[in-house]
């Protein structure tokens, strides 16, 4: 019922041409993701384009952020990994259409979003890296899983591990399923409460075109999972899904766990932290963070590092 009311309210008050974007918003023409100016600080293919034989065997993890987010979402993980001297290289990709302007985001498709992940992977393989893993938060999850559904890794280096942090297959807000009907009338949807820090790193306004793209990648991945997605024999997967997350429905974890096929059952793990935070791997910039959230985040980071350091 609340969705029906929401739609009616959005229809009455939301029908507007262009959103009111300020210079304090990432959506504007002033703030951009820093990886656009300094890619070598974020991408391993840029910072270490010619690895020696030892570095080629080093674990590299490509981390992909979620819908409307930027590389900021994985900063804490990179800092944590670097602080542990685990010998793991973190490559933070900026999804296509993200971290730029509202208009560029509006014109992008989920395939554009995914292109950055593919490019970085191909660059790393070309450079000679052999031990490559992936981590995707929220929409980063289905974008990575889709690569396996397309058999993208059939004739190339197989990823070692895939980490999915609150991957979206089913949204918590079911009104997304009606975006094709009401989206063109709404034009865009404004995000809820955001901190000043979040406004610098997340788009505040969500063009209906991109919400339709989000629904598309969710639906495509769900159907692929229903048919079964076979991971390469050497690839294992870990799914982390907060139980009280208000962005992604927890049934997403069920669909991924049942739909991904690994060589052996122990190569597929699922963890359901009792947290209300969507994407526990990012706490910086949030309004309310508890000590328990920090403990959960550290546990997730430690498990990821342990899996990345394990022998192939």
């Amino acid at each position: 019922m609340k969705y029906l009311l929401l739609i009616i309210v959005l229809f009455i008050f939301g029908c507007a041409g262009e959103p009111n974007i300020t210079d304090a918003d990432l959506d504007g023409n002033v703030l951009f993701d820093p990886s656009i100016y300094s890619p070598e600080q974020y991408l391993i293919s840029k910072s270490k384009p010619s690895p020696n034989e030892q570095e080629k065997q080093q674990p590299v993890i490509i981390v992909a952020h979620g819908y409307t987010a930027t590389t900021f979402e994985w900063n804490e993980f990179k800092r944590y990994v670097d602080s542990t001297n685990a010998g793991i290289l973190v490559s933070q990709v900026l999804l296509g259409g993200h971290g730029r302007t509202y208009q560029e985001f509006k014109n992008s498709s989920w395939k554009n979003w995914q292109e950055s992940i593919i490019q970085e992977y191909q660059q790393l393989v070309k450079a000679g890296y052999r031990n490559i893993s992936f981590a995707g938060s929220s929409t980063g999850g289905p974008l990575i899983v889709n690569l396996f559904a397309q058999s993208f890794f059939a004739n190339t280096i197989k990823p070692k591990h895939v980490f999915l942090i609150d991957p979206i297959i089913v949204p918590a807000n079911k009104s997304l399923s009606m975006i094709g009907i009401f989206g063109p009338m709404l034009g865009y949807i404004e995000s809820g409460e955001m901190t000043n820090e979040e406004r610098k790193h997340w788009y505040k306004f969500r063009p209906q075109e991109t919400l339709q793209e989000l629904l598309d990648i969710c639906t495509i991945t769900r159907k692929d999972l229903e048919s079964g997605i076979r991971f390469p024999d050497s690839t294992s997967v870990s799914i982390y899904k907060s139980l009280y997350d208000d962005v992604v429905d927890r049934v997403s974890a069920v669909l991924l766990f049942n739909g991904i096929e690994t060589k052996t059952p122990d190569m597929k793990k699922v963890s359901l932290p009792k947290s209300g935070i969507h994407v526990i791997t990012r706490l910086e910039g949030r309004a309310n963070v508890t000590e328990q959230d920090r403990v959960v985040q550290k546990n997730v980071f430690d498990e990821m590092i342990q899996d990345l350091k394990s022998k192939p």
Binding site: L4, N173, S175, L176, S177, E226, G228, Y244, R250, A253
Partner: protein, 174 residues
């Protein structure tokens, strides 16, 4: 929610106590927008001496087992619903509105997910049309809206707001 179900049950029981009417049974095909296809059976009763045969009460069972989850990894989901339908005319083609109430049960097939709700109440409204053929077949189709859906942290996440359904019913005189 419970009140609606009790209301339906009372109406259903009461209508059977009336002397004459029409019983029909058949299949129900249901497709949620951007989610599962669920199919099943439906049973409907229309008391003839009550609102000129324009009110019907029924019960239906639809499941993803007979739809999206057949031979796939989709979530096994069973829905049992009571419904009351009002026809705007007694002619063979008539617009209709329905109120449905029931329960949805999901099976996640693993104990790992025991902390995720595996059942939730259903309550929906539906608008559509009914066509009664000259021979004892009735086709009833509608666009429905689930008033209760999961918020991500409670309920069954695969219950989506909008659905379309089509039922084919064979009529029996009582």
């Amino acid at each position: 929610m419970k009140l609606f179900s009790i209301f339906h049950l009372l109406c259903f029981s009461f209508s059977f106590t009336l002397l004459a009417g029409e019983l029909s049974t058949g299949v129900r095909i249901q497709q949620s927008i951007a989610m599962y296809n669920e199919n099943g059976i439906t049973l409907q009763y229309s008391p003839s001496n009550f609102l000129n045969n324009q009110l019907a009460f029924g019960v239906s069972y639809v499941s993803s087992r007979l739809g999206s989850a057949f031979n796939s990894n989709a979530i096994l989901q069973d829905n049992i619903q009571l419904h009351s339908t009002y026809l705007f005319s007694s002619s063979s083609l008539s617009p209709s509105i329905s109120l449905n109430a029931g329960y949805c049960f999901a099976d996640y097939e693993s104990q790992i997910f025991e902390e995720i709700d595996a059942s939730m109440p259903l309550l929906s409204i539906e608008a559509g049309a009914r066509y009664a053929f000259d021979f004892p077949l009735t086709m009833q189709a509608g666009l429905g809206y689930n008033l209760i859906t999961s918020d991500g942290s409670s309920g069954v996440g695969t219950v989506y707001p909008l659905f379309v359904q089509c039922s084919f019913l064979w009529r029996f005189g009582l």
